[in-house]
Amino acid sequence: MKKTVVVGMSGGVDSSVCAYLLKEQSYDVIGVTMQIWRPENTCDVSDNGGCCGLSAVDDARRVAEVIGIPYYVMDFRGEFQKYVIDNFTSQYVKGRTPNPCIECNRHVKWEALLKKSRDIGADYLATGHYARISQLENGRYTISASRTSAKDQTYALYALTQDQLSHTLLPIGEYEKPDVRRIAEEAGLPVAHKKDSQEICFVSDGDYASFIEKEDGIVVPGPGDFVTPDGTFIAKHKGITHYTVGQRRGLGVAAGERIYVTDIDPGTDRITLGSDEDLLTSVVRAEDVCWMGLEGIRPGEKVRVRAKIRYNHGGEMGVLESDGDGCVKVTFDKNVRAAAPGQALVFYDESGTYIYGGGTII
């Protein structure tokens, strides 16, 4: 019997080709766009070319028509608000730098959408991510790098569970971006030349601070002090939500040398500014760890890994160890720069091919 798969369609070229490929592979394909926007910022999201606005619905619907698959819009506004936006703002207020794509994948796409997909009788959920799923010799499922190193979207998928992975298809991982565009063109998909979405989909202009200020129920931290690494006052700053670790531009501080945000202390609202060197660290710790290719790590066990500390980080070699209380640490062979609390530490096998697991940097 034909297997049924729900494809999460954002209206972009990757998820469109994903739906097309699965249909070609004789799956019973259902296209779904997640409605995640709230009515009052509909314009913001669609103007941004962001992934799930109203214009995205129109694009996805047209693609579904061309491919010849049923298409639905499902309402996930409640889940998106709770797991993505509320988390984003509360993390920022705590001086952290969250990655909302990770939360969206984890709680909205692979929890809520996968559940609804299974409710309506689907066997799998598929998305247009540049990543693949493999089953390792130890029997565990893991996310592995796509065929092309030019596009790697494994990082934001580290939090998926074994059950979720066993019900997931990622056909785009077998292709390179130019191939995907070519397939879209040949299949006559109307989004073949649509530009890739950038930025965080729900913040239209990259101005996170003013987005956070507009959120209900958030007490936005007020101005505080910029200080030197030894605690000397430099100047006042606008409030910690305006800054992120590693930031250089927009500090409004004149200094002889290049200075960066090296630390944000939400308790005192103090932001430490330092040199590039002050951003370097060899040990990165993470909490809320999710295990994927590895089942876990025993106390005292050391595992050689390649680890990434942000989405576009190439990865560095290091040693993974347990750090007590369900936390882990990676000691890097070479210093890494600007590991921001709130971002994910994702550790891969030594070749950087597949994910062992990951956690949130503390």
Partner: protein, 403 residues
């Protein structure tokens, strides 16, 4: 395909289709012109005015064609407001002006279609006070409720004839009479989009001042509606730029649409008793099968025999432990067309303000399903639909346990 979403739209009636055909091609005359082909168009429009008016006991001169129910609702509210402001300004003494006359007050309900609610909210933004009456648990608004909400500056009351989601038929004529008994100057409007041609409304023109209807809800074409304006009533135009519709609604007439609307209305007039009887029979059959399942709450009025205060073809239920959204998709895959709350432009479900107003919790509303039957449905279709609905609900509930 089994079509059980006749409150969203209906299939074009054969009689309407055939009546429209000549006007789509050969009978292209602009009704405003002087020559023969134009006269034929004008005559066809007049004929349709008669046909539509008959359903509510209105004379042809009281029927004004529009682009649909939404325009009619917008026109009724905004037109009434414009007229009120002008009158308030003109009636005032030398010291009075528009500002001191205030912006007035309108009364409507919390369960109106968005065409009314959004327009009322727009008027609110213009300074009008708006009272949204809350219905009882079956969706009813009482004349007493309306009367006790009246204020000195009330200029309009708008209560829908029948609710699109839960099918409740409001006592509109009684409301109009109660209001007019106290204040002849207050306009009473009713949005009859769901009721026009579905229930007997013969005497409505003698009670209300304004009434909206739409062609595609009774087997006419999309893109055509009407506003009934009681003879002698001054309501400012909403669309300006021509002398069509006695100078009250500008724009070249949608002649094929109007002709189709007329034909569908005429048919509805002729077959209404029969149609209601059949719809009630099919509706009760499907409803009793749905009620055989556990955890089903009926929305709107319900009596064991004959729901005279409910639209004949309407079933609205909340099914516990399922999501209506998922159920609709599964029904679609079995080629059964139904709805959950109102359809919206993006195709996504909006939480229903109607279900909220009659006291359903957000959780209950999530499992809402609406089936709206027409006289063209068959007993076999109803049986098949009932089986599929039961199966879908069962699958959704068992899936929930496993995960």
């Amino acid at each position: 395909m089994i079509y059980l979403d006749n409150a969203a739209t209906t299939k074009l009636e054969d009689c309407a289709f055939e009546a429209m055909l000549p006007f789509l091609k050969d009978e292209y005359g602009n009704a405003s012109a002087v020559y023969e082909i134009a006269r034929r168009s004008k005559k066809a429009v007049f004929n349709a005015r008669k046909q539509c008016g008959k359903l509510i006991g209105a004379s042809p001169s009281e029927i004004f064609f529009t682009s649909g129910g939404t325009e009619s609702d917008n026109w009724a509210l905004i037109g009434a407001y414009d007229s009120y402001r002008r009158k308030a300004g003109a009636d005032g003494d030398a010291n009075s002006n528009l500002l001191s006359a205030g912006c007035g007050h309108i009364i409507t309900t919390a369960i109106e279609h968005h065409a009314i609610i959004r327009t009322a909210e727009y008027l609110k933004s213009c300074g009008v006070s708006v009272t949204f009456l809350k219905p009882d648990s079956e969706g009813f608004i009482s004349p007493e409720q309306v009367v006790s909400a009246l204020r000195e500056d009330t200029f309009l009351v708008s209560v829908m004839t029948a609710n699109n989601e839960i099918g409740t038929i409001e006592p509109v004529c009684e409301i109009a009479d109660a209001v007019h008994a106290l204040r002849k100057d207050i306009l009473v409007h009713t949005d009859s989009v769901q009721a026009f041609g579905q229930i007997h409304m013969d005497g409505f023109a003698g009670h209300v001042d304004l009434l909206s209807a739409s062609a595609h809800k009774l087997g006419g074409p999309k893109g055509c509606g009407l506003l009934f304006i009681r003879d002698g009533l001054k309501v400012a135009p909403f669309i300006r730029g021509g002398m069509q519709e006695s100078g009250r609604r500008a724009g070249t007439e949608n002649i094929p649409g109007i002709v189709g609307f007329g034909a569908a209305s005429e048919k509805a007039c002729l077959v209404l008793d029969e149609k209601i009887k059949k719809e009630v029979m099919l509706r009760d059959e499907l409803l009793s099968r749905i009620l055989n399942m556990d955890g089903v709450i009926i929305n709107g009025p319900y009596e064991e025999k004959g729901c005279s205060k409910r639209l004949p073809g309407n079933i609205s239920v909340c099914v516990t432990d399922i999501e209506g959204e998922s159920a609709l998709i599964m029904l679609d895959r079995e080629e059964i067309c139904a709805s959950s709350g109102s359809a919206c432009a993006s195709g996504a479900r909006e939480p229903s303000h109607v279900l909220k107003a009659i006291g359903r919790s957000d959780d209950e509303s999530k499992g809402s399903l609406r089936f709206t039957i027409s006289e063209h449905n068959t007993s076999d279709e109803i049986k098949r639909a009932a089986e599929v609905i039961a199966d879908v609900v069962c699958r959704l509930r068992s899936g929930r346990k496993h995960l």
